[in-house]
């Protein structure tokens, strides 16, 4: 670990903190229906969308209506994405002649982009045409991100409203987030990326003769426009197989920094939006602080583990001073690789600028733990906020039990219904993650796809299902997941991980919105101070994390101990 490394991490943190308030204020104006500086330009488009859709902007929905609208929209999105994927060979914009896509891969990919997971069982430049990348994948990158933010807005309205029957209008939230936040940000980021070297062309792969006279085929494409939303929407699905490790997706250290900031920016801003909407920005900063502390713990361990290097290689006479460089790019080095990996697994992004499978056992374990906690350390856009607030409900419930009072959160009583829904959302994740892993490591269809043996092979399977259910999408990429067993089970995991959290969350929003406010009293547990931050972190680690300890012991922990003893697999 170097001084420069910590300065780079500190700079990243400072920029994210500085952006949280302004972006949070902007998102608040979107959630509360106000005008913003883009309204004069895009207001007409917004009204046109409502007219064509037959939506009246003032008509609000209860939680059932909101959830139904979201689900039907997802079904439409699935059908479109699946259709485009399957019809790839019939569609234009396929200069490199990519072949047909199998039904199980098309299903897995459509679900993956729909749920903001962006797990990729395929390599982009060798599988997907430009039309597929744009019409099937980029669209879902926007829509899954906008839907996530919309649901977070609806969830927050559950706390900010009193005795209300509705929690917003899904179509309005979706449209406003896409038009005013995602597209303008993406236009700016795309142009920045192209300036730095990310290609943006419809021309096919370029064939060159190298200095030594060999033939090299260089895949290009409309990369930058997809890259921008991939980061801002915490999607993470790469244009190329190597994702943000590929020099065309991530050509410079500056781009790398901007990509990491993009991943966190909207998730962090949503904490501020929450604070503003419930009437106290301190409430938002308390959440930000809890998330930030969990992030700092993760990045410290990962940076330490990777900077220390691989002792087995050092023993062969290699100068390990640069750290563990297998699977990492020279321009990023250890610190930006460790930081990126922590950021991408904290937020449910899943883009990678280095191969996480080649990380040291404890470095890879941090990535897994971040996802196992439920993607709430800033998290996926929207999903991070409502994921965290579910744990906040558990935290105030625990605090209420300790003093023997009915727990309340922001003036709303937390009762049996909310706790049941919260536990449903929280417990479905370990069930999917651990259940599917257990199946995959005993059946032939599962084990035959693993590239490693011993504890690392177990980690490969565990990582896959954790990543799918947490809607992250990064991988221990040695696993050959493009097979019916993996495509199917991972697809199921992604759907459960998304919708078995969203629907209980919206149900909670509906019942909270309907409640009357209770004025705070001497017995009210304040949720904007250090006590709450500590309690929330404790609950997240104990309820969210402890479940997974036995599985981690079988994978990365035993691998770490084996490595110390010099044992190879």
């Amino acid at each position: 670990m170097t001084f420069n490394g910590w300065i780079q991490i500190a700079l990243f943190c400072a920029i994210v903190i500085a952006m949280t308030r302004p972006l949070g204020g902007f998102l608040t104006s979107l959630a509360t229906g106000g005008r913003n500086f883009l309204s004069p330009v895009l207001g007409g488009v917004e009204r046109g969308v409502y007219t064509l859709c037959g939506v009246r902007a003032g008509d609000e929905q209860g939680w059932v209506g909101y959830a139904t609208a979201m689900l039907i929209f997802k079904v439409m999105g699935f059908l479109l994405a699946y259709g485009v994927l399957r019809a790839q060979t019939l569609l234009p914009l396929n200069p490199d002649g990519q072949g047909a896509i199998t039904p199980d891969l098309a299903y897995n990919t459509a679900i993956s982009f729909l749920t903001n997971t962006n797990w990729q069982s395929y390599g982009g430049e060798s599988t997907m045409s430009y039309a597929t990348q744009m019409v099937a994948l980029t669209v879902q990158n926007f829509m899954s991100a906008a839907a996530g933010i919309a649901i977070a807005m609806a969830f927050v309205r559950g706390f900010s409203r009193r005795s209300a029957k509705s929690i917003g209008n899904f179509w309005v939230d979706l449209t406003r987030v896409t038009l005013y936040a995602l597209i303008p940000l993406c236009v700016v980021v795309t142009l920045f990326l192209v300036w730095q070297g990310v290609p943006q062309t419809l021309g096919g792969a370029v064939e060159v003769t190298t200095l030594e006279g060999a033939k090299q085929i260089i895949a290009v494409g409309p990369v930058a426009s997809q890259e921008a939303i991939k980061m801002l929407g915490t999607n993470g699905g790469g244009f190329f197989n190597a994702n943000s490790a590929h020099p065309f997706e991530n050509p410079t250290a500056l781009v790398d920094m901007v990509q990491m900031i993009s991943i966190f920016s909207l998730g962090a801003a949503l904490t501020n939006m929450f604070g503003r909407m419930v009437g106290s920005e301190r409430q938002g900063w308390a959440i930000f602080a809890a998330m930030g502390l969990l992030f700092l713990a993760g990045v410290t361990v990962t940076y330490w583990a990777e900077a220390a290097g691989n002792p087995v290689l050092t023993a062969l006479g290699v100068d390990g001073g640069m750290g563990n460089m297998e699977g990492k790019e020279v321009r990023f080095g250890i610190v930006q690789s460790a930081l990126f990996t922590t950021v991408t697994t904290d937020a449910s992004c899943g883009a990678v600028n280095s191969m996480i499978e080649s990380f040291m056992p404890l470095g890879g374990m941090v990535a897994m733990v971040n996802m196992m906690l439920g993607e709430l350390i800033f998290g996926g856009v929207g999903s991070g906020l409502y994921g965290f607030l579910l744990f906040a409900i558990v935290a105030v419930f625990v605090a209420g039990l300790m003093v023997g009072r009915t727990p309340e959160f922001l003036g709303k009583k937390i009762e049996a219904k909310e706790i049941k829904m919260t536990m449903l959302a929280i417990l479905c994740l370990p069930l999917v993650m651990l259940g599917f892993t257990a199946i995959a490591v005993v059946v032939e269809a599962g084990t035959s796809a693993l590239s490693a043996s011993g504890p690392h092979g177990f980690s490969e399977a565990l990582y896959a299902y954790v990543s799918a259910a947490a809607n992250n999408g990064s991988a221990f990429a040695g696993v050959s997941a493009n097979a019916p067993f993996w495509n199917t089970t991972l697809g199921i995991g992604m759907m459960i991980g998304r919708f078995f959290v969203i629907i209980p969350a919206l149900a909670i929003a509906g019942s909270m919105a309907a409640k009357k406010a209770v004025p705070p009293s001497a017995g009210t547990f304040p949720t904007d101070g250090p006590m709450f931050v500590g309690l929330a972190i404790g609950v997240i680690l104990i309820v969210g994390g402890l479940t997974f300890f036995p599985a981690l012991a079988l994978g990365p922990i035993v691998e770490h101990l084996a490595l110390a003893a010099g044992q190879l697999f």
């Binding site: 192209v194 200095l211 090299q216 490790a245 065309f248 290689l313 321009r331 080649s358 190879l568």
Partner: protein
């Protein structure tokens, strides 16, 4: 539920037109107008022939060129399309090795590479980036130490004084951006092009 069908259908069509067609196509037009070189892939020409991209690494095996890092990219086996064969710096199929830190295959590979590198430069200590594969398999850079490690071999093969070659490496070493971001590095293709220009 029926009331949601029309908005859902119209919305997905509209959003596909806006975010799936208008946005990427407008960006392609704008990028091509503002930054045509980068938008096309930062291609490098010599003698009016495209010889690569400044951002994409190439495979160098001859003694007279600086070598890039090992690469784990593969290509379909010509004799059996279900299998793959090693194809370093295949820019149509980026990939890392995905070998874990305790993989026997990783340690065997590094052991072999260390032996080869020690033959080239018995005095030097092998830098770790010269025996590890990158995440993309297309890393265009090596660390300054990895370039310096290769100076004796390249100088010998070209019949140049080591000092001349070392000076070229220093001239092609890029520091951190603003002394802060990223890591110091040497672009191997640019360095080798400059090497070919010596004595021209």
């Amino acid at each position: 539920m029926i009331t949601h069908l029309r908005p859902a259908l119209v919305m997905i069509v509209l959003m596909t037109i806006i975010t799936g067609l208008a946005y990427p196509l407008a960006m392609t037009g704008l990028a091509g107008a503002l930054f045509p070189h980068q938008a096309a892939g930062s291609l490098v020409q010599r003698d009016n022939k495209v010889i690569g991209s400044s951002l994409i690494g190439q495979n160098f095996s001859g003694a007279s060129y600086f070598h890039s890092r090992p690469s784990a990219t593969t290509a379909p086996d010509p004799s059996d399309s279900a299998k793959t064969v090693a194809a370093p710096y295949n820019a149509a199929n980026s990939s890392g090795s995905n070998l874990g830190p305790t993989a026997k295959a990783l340690v065997e590979r590094v052991k072999d590479d260390v032996v080869k590198l020690k033959l080239e430069n018995p005095e030097g200590v092998v830098p770790v980036d010269l025996v590890t594969t990158s995440g993309s398999g297309l890393d265009p850079d090596v660390s300054p130490r990895a370039a310096m490690f290769q100076v004796p071999r390249v100088a010998r093969a070209r019949g140049l004084p080591e000092a001349t070659v070392a000076a070229l490496v220093t001239a092609h070493t890029q520091g951190r951006l603003l002394g802060l971001l990223g890591e110091p590095r040497v672009n191997v293709l640019a360095l080798n092009l400059a090497l070919d220009d010596i004595g021209k």
